[in-house]
């Protein structure tokens, strides 16, 4: 999973095959537990895969992912300050109607599960543990040869991105008073 370019340029590359298996695992978990949503996120809050249940209307979960990853990372710092030698196993945010459960998959990835309060936390813990066991080997695979990454980031991409940034990030001001 962690792409080693020899220079540490890339943190994570997810292949289509990996994504399909991860999504299948999340979909199974969501169906078994009737989850509102389940997300696989990395330590910096980026969503690798998500499965949203029927009861969830908002399909943009980036904010939730960032907060879930931040919350879990913060809990690890708390564990350290309390003298724990390992991370906390999970974080549970308990609401009146909805709960958020976050647990570690590997050191770099977390599973965030949104479920209704009627579902037993024990069930969530049991089935997420099984899902984690399926996800770990998938996330451990090496992917994407560097040549393909070179294609992803060729000079054409840099030029086109620059043009698109100029189009999208504009407020009509002229001049940037910058030095480079």
């Amino acid at each position: 999973m962690n792409e080693n370019t020899g220079a540490g340029a890339l943190d994570t590359v997810l292949s289509k095959g990996q994504f399909d298996r991860i999504f299948s695992c999340l979909a199974d978990l969501a169906a078994k537990l009737r989850l509102m949503a389940v997300l696989l996120v990395d330590g910096s809050g980026r969503i690798l895969a998500q499965k949203i249940g029927d009861g969830w209307k908002d399909t943009r979960l980036e904010g939730l992912a960032a907060l879930a990853a931040g919350s879990y990372s913060a809990s690890n710092e708390i564990a350290r300050l309390l003298g724990e030698s390992a991370r906390f196993r999970m974080v549970l945010h308990e609401g009146e109607r909805r709960n958020l459960f976050v647990c570690s998959v590997t050191q770099d990835f977390h599973l965030a599960v949104v479920f209704e309060s009627g579902t037993a936390v024990g069930m969530i813990r049991l089935f997420t543990k099984r899902a984690v066991e399926q996800l770990v080997p998938v996330l451990s695979e090496r992917t994407a040869p560097e040549q393909d990454l070179g294609k992803m980031f060729d000079r054409n991409f840099e030029t086109l991105l620059g043009e698109e940034l100029d189009r999208s990030l504009t407020d009509g001001r002229s001049g940037n008073r910058g030095r480079s």
Binding site: L14, R46, N176
Partner: protein, 202 residues
């Protein structure tokens, strides 16, 4: 950085770093207020009762389809106050590029430098340094009456000659040029890393 082959997505994490009240959140607020709603998510702000950032602010931006690829930029701020050092470390996890927001007020020069050194400490813990990492400087609050001269700020903070921008984040001046510059630095950095790795293999 995270590349999602199946969806052709490239995710980059940009962190706005700087001393307390230097204007990091104002940068994100301005960006959020000016971007096409179709290209942005909700802005998440975690604040104290005094309107100070306690954990981070977050905003995801997209810029549409680039040659079949979809770049997404996750923008974060860190809490600037001294007591939140551990929180800053958490937010820096997985960072791809940094905007260092320096406060132009003369009495903030020491705080700017202390914060820059704090940033380097966290980068070193992650195996990076300010010399080999993509970052840009923003000299914010250029409209305050006691603003330090740009020449002096360059001398005090820009040891490595990174791109720097004058800004007044509350009005938006300099905000987009800063953001564009850091994105270009990050993409250029990835390209040179990949090219370096390929040369080593050849």
């Amino acid at each position: 950085m995270f590349i999602h082959w199946a969806l052709k997505e490239i995710h980059l994490k940009i962190v706005y770093y700087g001393a307390g009240m230097s204007g990091k959140t104002e940068n994100l607020r301005y960006i959020h207020s000016r971007i096409d709603p179709a290209l942005k998510g909700d802005m998440v702000m975690l604040k104290t009762n005094e309107d100070r950032t306690i954990f981070f602010d977050f905003l995801q931006l997209e810029v549409g389809n680039i040659d079949g690829k979809k770049p997404k930029f996750n923008l974060y701020t860190v809490p600037g106050q001294i007591q939140y050092a551990q929180t800053r470390r958490v937010v820096l996890n997985g960072v791809d590029g940094i905007v260092f927001v320096a406060d132009s007020r003369k009495d903030m020069m020491d705080a700017n430098l202390e914060t820059l050194l704090d940033l380097e400490k966290h980068l070193i813990a992650g195996g990076k340094t300010l010399e080999n990492f993509p970052w840009v400087l923003q000299y914010n609050k250029r409209d305050v009456p006691d603003a330090e001269s740009i020449a002096e700020m360059e001398t005090k903070l820009n040891f490595f000659g990174v791109p720097s921008f004058e800004a007044i984040a509350t009005t938006g001046e300099g905000v987009f040029p800063t953001l564009k510059a850091v994105i270009k630095k990050v993409v250029g950095h990835v390209q040179s890393q990949l090219e370096g790795a390929q040369r080593m293999r050849a």
